[in-house]
Symmetry: C3
Subunit: 350 residues, 3 copies
Amino acid sequence: MFIRNTWYVAAWSHEVEGDKLFSRTIINTPVMLYRKESGEVIALADRCCHRGAPLSHGRREGDCVRCMYHGLKFDSQGTCVEAPAQERIPPHAKVRQFPVVEQHRWIWIWMGEPEQADPSAIPDTHWVDDPQWRSLPGYIHYDVNYLLICDNLLDFSHLPYVHPTTLGGGEDYATVRPKVERVKDGVRITRWTLNTEPPPFVKAVRDWPGKVDRWNIYDFTIPAILRMDSGMAPVGTGAPEGTRVDAAEFHGCQALTPETEGSTHYFFAHPHNFSLDKPEVTRSIHQSVVDAFDEDREMISAQHRNLVLDPGFKMIPFGVDAALSQFRWAVNQRLEEECAAATQKSETAT
Amino acid sequence: MFIRNTWYVAAWSHEVEGDKLFSRTIINTPVMLYRKESGEVIALADRCCHRGAPLSHGRREGDCVRCMYHGLKFDSQGTCVEAPAQERIPPHAKVRQFPVVEQHRWIWIWMGEPEQADPSAIPDTHWVDDPQWRSLPGYIHYDVNYLLICDNLLDFSHLPYVHPTTLGGGEDYATVRPKVERVKDGVRITRWTLNTEPPPFVKAVRDWPGKVDRWNIYDFTIPAILRMDSGMAPVGTGAPEGTRVDAAEFHGCQALTPETEGSTHYFFAHPHNFSLDKPEVTRSIHQSVVDAFDEDREMISAQHRNLVLDPGFKMIPFGVDAALSQFRWAVNQRLEEECAAATQKSETAT
Amino acid sequence: MFIRNTWYVAAWSHEVEGDKLFSRTIINTPVMLYRKESGEVIALADRCCHRGAPLSHGRREGDCVRCMYHGLKFDSQGTCVEAPAQERIPPHAKVRQFPVVEQHRWIWIWMGEPEQADPSAIPDTHWVDDPQWRSLPGYIHYDVNYLLICDNLLDFSHLPYVHPTTLGGGEDYATVRPKVERVKDGVRITRWTLNTEPPPFVKAVRDWPGKVDRWNIYDFTIPAILRMDSGMAPVGTGAPEGTRVDAAEFHGCQALTPETEGSTHYFFAHPHNFSLDKPEVTRSIHQSVVDAFDEDREMISAQHRNLVLDPGFKMIPFGVDAALSQFRWAVNQRLEEECAAATQKSETAT
C-alpha cells in the first residue's frame, strides 16, 4: 500500500528527452513520460485502454502517441482520438493522465486525485541546479520495499559501520544522539559530531590539518524525500555557533519512489558549494556517494532476505530508532487518512 | 483451466525421432513421446507411477521404456510389466497413455477422455506436407497464457503496427473491418484489403510493378488452431472476384498448445505454392514469419507484464475485438460443458 | 515443517575457520558460525535483534561480534553488550544462541529447546577422522525438500539405474529385497548381493579376478543421517558369514540438513580402510561419490519438477518402499510429538 496524494520523483529531466517515450513503473503503475514539441513533460498511464499494451512501445505523432499494437492514437490528455477501423470512438476510451511538474532537473508526478495536486507542495531542491552548487545526477534501483531504505536514511549512526571508507568517519560519529523534531509530513534530524575525523569522501577533496566539527541537518518527509544541509569545518572555527569558515558544505537531495511493493527507485544528488571550477572534485564526491549507496544496498538487501525468511520477526527498538519510528508513524497516518477518504467517497457515490 | 477433450499439437514429427524419449509439458501434464520400432508414435505420461520420476530420463527396451530411477518397465500401453525386486506387480501400476495421431508432420494428442478421441476431428493442415506447397517448420515458446496469443491472431489489424518491416504493409490495412462468422468450434475471419502496398516479406520474393489486392481468410478454432488462405495479386486481376492471376498464395497453419497457465508452445508453418524450386524463397518467407512472431512475442510479453501489475484492469472493447470476443466465448462454453460433464460423471459414479 | 529437537549437521569443521563469520540457513533460520579465540565454535542467529541485519556481515572483536549496520555488539552468548548511542541496553536485546558440538570434523547444531540438547545423542561418525580410515569431505546443495533425498537414500535399488558408471553394478543388485528393521529414530537396512559384478567406483581402485559378494548395511535416522557399513569381497571368501578377506570396506557417513522447505544441504564422506598410503585411491573414491550424487540430484530435481506440476499426484507403493515409508512415518511421529508438546507448553503458560 502506498500513499497516493503526494509528489513522487518520476525521473531525472535528462531521462526524458527528444522524441523518446520513457517508461517507469511508479507505485505499481506503469507510467509513460514524454515531452511535447514545446518541451512540456507529459505523463500518461503506460497501458493502452484497449488491451493493456504499453504505449511506450508506440510511436510519437506530433504531441500524440500511437499504440503500436492495434494503432489507437491518444492525445497528450490521454484521450483516444483515432482508432483505425472505426469512426466512433467510445467516449470512455482514455488512458489516465498524471499531473507532472519539472523542477530543478527532477520530474515530479502526482499519482493521486488530480484536483489535490498542488505544485507549491513540491519540496525545494533548488541546490541541484543552482549555479552556486555542483553535483551529478544519481540513480540506483533496489529490490526491496522503500521503507527499509527510509529506515536507513533516518538513522545515520550506520555511517561509520556501513561506509568506513566513503561517507563514514570515526566511530565516535555513531555515539552522538541526534535531535529529532516533527515537521510537517516528516521529521527534522540535527546531528553534530564535534572534534571528529573528516570522512574519506571529503578528505579526498579537502586538505585540513586536523579534526573537524561535522553536521548533518536534514528533513525527511513524505513520501520519502531527504533534503540535507551537511558539512564540516575545522574545529574551533565556530561552525556549531553558526559561522562556516573554511567549511565543506553540501546540500544533498534524495528521493525514494516505490516501483512495486518489493522494489524502489532511488534518485540522488550531493551538491557542494566549493571548488566549483573543478569538475574532478564533483566527480570524486559523486563517486563516493554512489559507492556508499551500493554499500547500503548490499546491507539492506541482506536484511531484506532475513526478514523474508521470518515475516514474524519482532525487531527490538533502540534509541537510534526515534526518527524512523516517527516517520513510519507519519506514513501510516497518511495511509489511514487516504483509506478513510476513499471509503467516504465511495459511500457518497452510492 | 484448459479444454481437455480436443486435439492439441504435441510436436513436429521430426522432434520425435529414432530411439529418443521426447518430453513436453502439455496443459500442465508432462508427456513423453517416442516411436515404437514400427515408427508409430506413443504418448505416455512422463511421470512414473511409482515415485513420479520422468520416464523420459529412462531407457528404451524394444517398444518398452524402463524408468531409470528404480528400474520399473512399462510397455507402450503404459502398463508396468516389470519391477526388479518383486514378482507381483500391482494391477493399477500404470502410467496414462494418450491417444496420438501423426498427420502432415504434426503429432496431435488428446488429453481428455480417450473414448471421445475422434481422429476425424483433427483439422486439415495438409498444406504442410503437400508437394504443391513449400514451408519450413517453426516453433517458438512464450511465457504467457495462450489466450493472449489467441487474441493477437484473431485481430490482424495489428499487422502494420507490430510488423511494419515483415508481415505488415501500409496502415490502410488496419482500417478494413473484416467479416467475422461463427463456424464450428470457432470463427472464420475474412479480410480483403484492396489496392494496397504488398508487405515486405512478399516484396522480398515477388516483384510486382504496383499495388495489390490482399486477402486473409482464416478459421481459428478450438483449442487454438489457425488455418489461413492468404495472399495477394496485382490490382485489377480479379482476385476479389475469385480469379488468382500472378498471385502469391499462402496457406498458413498455426497451433498454440498451452504448456502451463503461464506458458505456451507455438507451432507454425507458412506454406506457399510458387517458386517451388527455389529453397531460398521458402527460407526467406519462413525467416520473415519467425521475425514477425518474435515481434508479436515482444509486444504480448510487455502486455502480459502490464496485466500482471494490475489484475483488475478493465479492457475497453473496440470493434476490432469482435472475433476475439467470440472465440473467448466459445472457449468458455467448452470449459463450462466439460465442467458440467465432469460433475455429472462424478455424481453418476456415487 | 521441520523437526527441531534433533542434532543437524551445520557445517564441516574447515568451513568455519580463523576469524571468519560463516553464515548458513538451517531449517529456515539464518545461523552465523564462528570460532572463539579458544577455537570453540559458536552459533548465533544470523540476524541482529535490532533491525534484522545479518551479523555475519559484521566484525569480530575478540570473542564478540559487532553488527556492521548500526554498531551493536554481541558477546558469544548472543547478549547485546554495547550500543553506540545509548548507555542502557534493553535486557531482552539478545540474539539466540544455539547449542553446537564439533565432533569428527562435523559441527552439529541443535535448533530446538536448548535444555533438551544432549551431546550423547549425536550419531557416531568417527570413521570420518579415524586414522584407520581415509576420506575427503563432500558437500552439495539441492533445490528440493530434503525428504525426496531421504527417499532416494532409503532405497538402494536405484543404484544400477541412476549410477551405472559409478556406484551401481549389475542390475541383479536391484532384484534383491533388503531386510528392513526399525531402530531408535529410524531404520536399519541390510542388503546382500551375492556373486555380483563389483561396481565401477571400486573396480577403479581394486583388482579382483572375478565376482564379489557385496553388502550395504546402514542406519538411516532422524533428522536424516546415514551411517553405512558397506563393501565387497571375492565370492567364496566368507563375507556373508562374517569373514572379511581381501575385502574393500567403506563406512559412509551422510547428513541432510534442510535449508528451507525447498532446499537442502548435503554433507557426506565415504571413508575406506584400505590403500591408506595412496591418496589417489581416496581421491578416486571421493570423485565417484561426487559424480554419483550429481546423478542423484539430476534425477531427484526432475522428479521434484514433476511433483510441483501436480501436487495431487498419488504415488503407487512398491515393495522397495518399505524403508522409506517407515522413515517418513517416524518423521511424522516426531513432528506430531513436537507439535503436541508446543501446544501443551503454550497452554501451561496461559
